[in-house]
Symmetry: C2
Subunit: 234 residues, 2 copies
Amino acid sequence: MITSKDNDKIKYIIKLQSKKYRDQFNKFVIYGDHAIEEALKQGFEMELYTSNPLKKGELISDELIKKVSLTETPTDCLAVVKKRPEQSYSNRILMLDNIQDPGNMGTLIRSAVGFGFTTVISSLNSVDYYHERTIRATQGNLLYANLIKAPLADRIKALKFMGYEIYVTALQGSVDLKTITPKDKCVLVLGNEGAGVSDDIMRLATKTIRVKTRDIESLNVAMAGSIIMYEWQV
Amino acid sequence: MITSKDNDKIKYIIKLQSKKYRDQFNKFVIYGDHAIEEALKQGFEMELYTSNPLKKGELISDELIKKVSLTETPTDCLAVVKKRPEQSYSNRILMLDNIQDPGNMGTLIRSAVGFGFTTVISSLNSVDYYHERTIRATQGNLLYANLIKAPLADRIKALKFMGYEIYVTALQGSVDLKTITPKDKCVLVLGNEGAGVSDDIMRLATKTIRVKTRDIESLNVAMAGSIIMYEWQV
């Protein structure tokens, strides 16, 4: 049983709490039965750790697993999971330009999976998919998404060539969501919580759209995104 | 200029960071130019405090205003605002049964104002409307809502008598949102993040509805609520 914080595997788990090491090792950490079951079902490669002798995985002391877990409620198991390589594009794609809030990122992934936008492409400057608060906000749906992180402009050009239409949300000069029937293959682009979609991406739009509201200038990005994906679900 | 934490007005401001005192004094605190402008425009009664001699309000030292402000970015002004009494019901009403997350509460109020559900009624066990994170998530829209906190069952009975239909979200035994055309006067009831709407409220529903998704059991409550209010906006 591992009991010391100085154990190499524990040091490794703690390192994975920072984006730098998640990028470097291409791994991330999930906590608790539900998430681990989902990951196993989805065929992810992983190493299991637990403080419960009845469960599979390398034993860690109770005290130590509490120390290394970033969850709000204590858990008796965690897994170090290998990220998946990029998969084929789905027909509906969600693209995120400089999303900063882990909660927004997580709820957007959750809604995207729910409405069939299973490929998510985020800009390099967006918050990490594997941030602990992002994973928590996805409520187990992270593992169902084809998550890609890449410069957006090049991807958009390639996607256009493949026949995708690019719909970008914008408050000004845009058309009401209700007037649009999306093409079967389409990309929904959402932007930063404060600044919206950046100009260089905006210029690549097939159409700019907005969710019509009564009094307020803008909805929270996760709300606007969920509403559009709901309308366009396949 | 107030410079001491032991000043009675400062002690009062700090007390208002807890729900107990917000309830007792019937006041809450807002921070920054934007929120204060909105509150003035809306005619709220308030006392202004600032560290900027050019602005209206009682002077507080820079250091002290930083200490008493719960904002992420520093601000040079705050206001102690008197809560408004209950106003007449709007035709569209949002009802919240045991919502616990301040972020969800705030984004729901923001969407509600955006889609014309300007009256919000929350159960006594829901998170406070005036929690600092709730106010922040409303992005200035808190002051546009008619916010009521009350036992829900009695309100529902009275609202039914007034001709309102009661639509409650539920995953099971419910009908797809898309099959419903709401009555002009209607109440949308959303429930707790984990447990959903409680049984005693569920029993009072005119209809139970759900937002159809592909793979996942449920959307985040703020997403589901925003989608329904978008569909039913007036």
